[in-house]
């Protein structure tokens, strides 16, 4: 029996269940964190009345959303309309399977883990687009069109940065990447300026692209509330909206985890006091906090401003870092 449990499929299954629970819990409580954080930034308490410090608020929201009427408006493409939220949620869940949360805590340690995340990530775009298209709503369609151009534009600098990282580390295995950053915190990739003096900039580019790809403020063109009502989600009610909502946070989770793995040394601890998993979570949640912080500070960018930023600034700079790091690698 024990042997059976240690077999690969069972392990995988166990991890998938674990990840689902992790994502579910996190997606729900990231919403709480967001609301609490927004509250603090605005000098108000945020949710407090539902449970201690509003801790039951996400549960109340979930119950409410689950029990609401799911409207499939007339004229929508019902099949696609229903599939789209799931299509948004599934890739985020699957991608987390390759994230190493601890030295041996990854559902599947595959050699092309980094590629897997981006391959699955590309489905997200499809999901929002189908959601927007099938809604048959002008705002939703405009939003879908924006999402596509935004994500296409930001995929390029992201991939360039990731290629830089692959070149520097020489692997696409996430666990291996983390392993290479062992030692004190200056061995983390962000601080490895001797490998590439532009490493902090590279991290910044990755962070910006991550914000853009997860449609977070200041790049939240997809649900630009004051322009497009609720964007691609305008026609979604009840859990359809809920799943989109959760998927958004799951994607943030994924993005922050990836940034942690690539740049912040993953589960490597700077002092060696706490276990690796905790360090991983601390770093990840710090990035999540930064995402919240950014959201509640800045106004939304204009759409062409967003594309300009990508095409005129991020892509050249990331291309430059790529060339620079390859030159440095060649020289030394």
């Amino acid at each position: 029996m024990l042997k059976l449990l240690s077999t690969e499929p069972v392990r995988l299954l166990a991890f998938l269940v674990g990840i689902m629970a992790f994502v579910g819990l996190n997606a729900a409580y990231l919403v709480w964190v967001e609301r609490k954080g927004a509250g603090r930034f605005q000098r108000r308490p945020g949710p407090t009345e539902v449970g201690y410090a509003g801790l039951l608020q996400p549960i109340a929201d979930a119950i409410k959303l689950l029990s609401k009427q799911l409207i499939v408006p007339q004229g929508v493409d019902a099949a696609l309309f229903r599939v789209a939220p799931l299509l948004m949620m599934a890739p985020a869940l699957m991608s987390l399977a390759v994230i190493p949360f601890g030295p041996s805590l990854a559902a599947r340690n595959i050699n092309v883990g980094l590629l897997l995340i981006f391959a699955l990530g590309s489905i997200n775009v499809m999901a929002i687009m189908l959601g927007g298209w099938s809604s048959r709503n002008k705002y939703a369609i405009m939003s879908a069109a924006r999402v596509v151009s935004q994500n296409v534009a930001y995929e390029i600098p992201t991939l360039l940065v990731v290629i830089t990282m692959i070149m520097i580390t020489g692997t696409m295995n996430l666990n291996e990447i983390v392993r290479q950053q062992a030692g004190a915190f200056w061995h983390w990739n962000v601080f490895r300026v001797w490998v590439n003096p532009l490493m902090p900039v590279t991290f910044l580019i990755f962070f910006i692209c991550m914000l853009a790809e997860t449609n977070r403020a200041p790049f939240d063109m997809a649900e630009a509330e004051s322009e497009l009502v609720a964007g691609a989600y305008t026609e979604y009610s009840s859990m359809g909206f809920g799943v989109f909502f959760m998927a958004e946070y799951a994607n943030i989770l994924l993005g922050c985890s990836l940034a942690t793995v690539l740049f912040l040394g993953g589960w490597q601890s700077p002092f060696g006091i706490l276990p690796g998993v905790l360090w991983f979570l601390i770093k990840m949640y710090f990035l999540v906090f930064a995402v919240v912080w950014v959201r509640w500070t800045f106004p939304r960018t204009q759409f062409y401003g967003l594309l300009n930023l990508s095409w005129k600034l991020l892509i050249p700079v990331s291309l430059f870092t790529l060339i620079l790091s390859s030159a440095i690698m060649k020289l030394y």
Partner: protein, 177 residues
């Protein structure tokens, strides 16, 4: 993997599932009246195909298939559909030509399929005695930059030209900045 009971069966089922996904996707892609569903069919087909690649011992290409077909090709096509026509014409054409073309297409498809099947079955394929490389990402990269560097360059030029051409074609007619 073999320690797990009936693992062979499970893997076989997964394989059949991937195969079925691919075929189903392809059928949706050509059969659906709504173009948007056709694209979804193409995406499903690509997912199935990626599964087959995985069974062909190349997870790298499986993921590339997803990245390029789902992430780039399908997205672009959906985008184009949004800009252009939402549906395939329903009953605009006369029945005669429709039937004729349908029949021709079916006949051609069946003929091709049958002949290829026969060809595939009847040929005795030989497995090689030894392998030069293991076909990993590294091997692919090395080959790309050595043996096939010319083709690689050509592909990049083709892509560049495609980007420029697409920009040039799509931009004409836009009067605004």
């Amino acid at each position: 993997m073999n320690a797990f009971p009936a693992s062979n069966l499970i893997v076989s089922v997964a394989f059949v599932f991937a195969l079925a996904t691919m075929v189903l996707g392809a059928l949706i892609a050509v059969g659906s009246r709504l173009l948007i569903r056709s694209v979804c069919g193409l995406a499903i087909c690509s997912v199935g195909l990626a599964g087959l690649y995985y069974f062909l011992h190349s997870p790298f290409l499986a993921l590339m298939e997803l990245l390029i077909y789902v992430g780039a090709v399908c997205v672009t096509v959906v985008f184009a559909i949004m800009l252009a026509e939402p549906t395939e014409p329903k009953n605009e054409e006369k029945r005669g030509p429709t039937l004729f073309w349908g029949g021709t297409a079916l006949a051609a498809a069946v003929a091709i399929f049958w002949s290829l099947w026969w060809l595939g079955k009847s040929t005795g394929w030989k497995t090689p005695a030894s392998r030069l490389t293991d076909g990993s990402v590294k091997a692919i990269g090395v080959s790309l930059l050595t043996t096939y560097s010319m083709a690689f360059e050509l592909i990049s030029v083709a892509l560049l030209v495609a980007i420029l051409g697409a920009l040039a074609i799509a931009r004409t007619g836009r009067t605004k900045p």
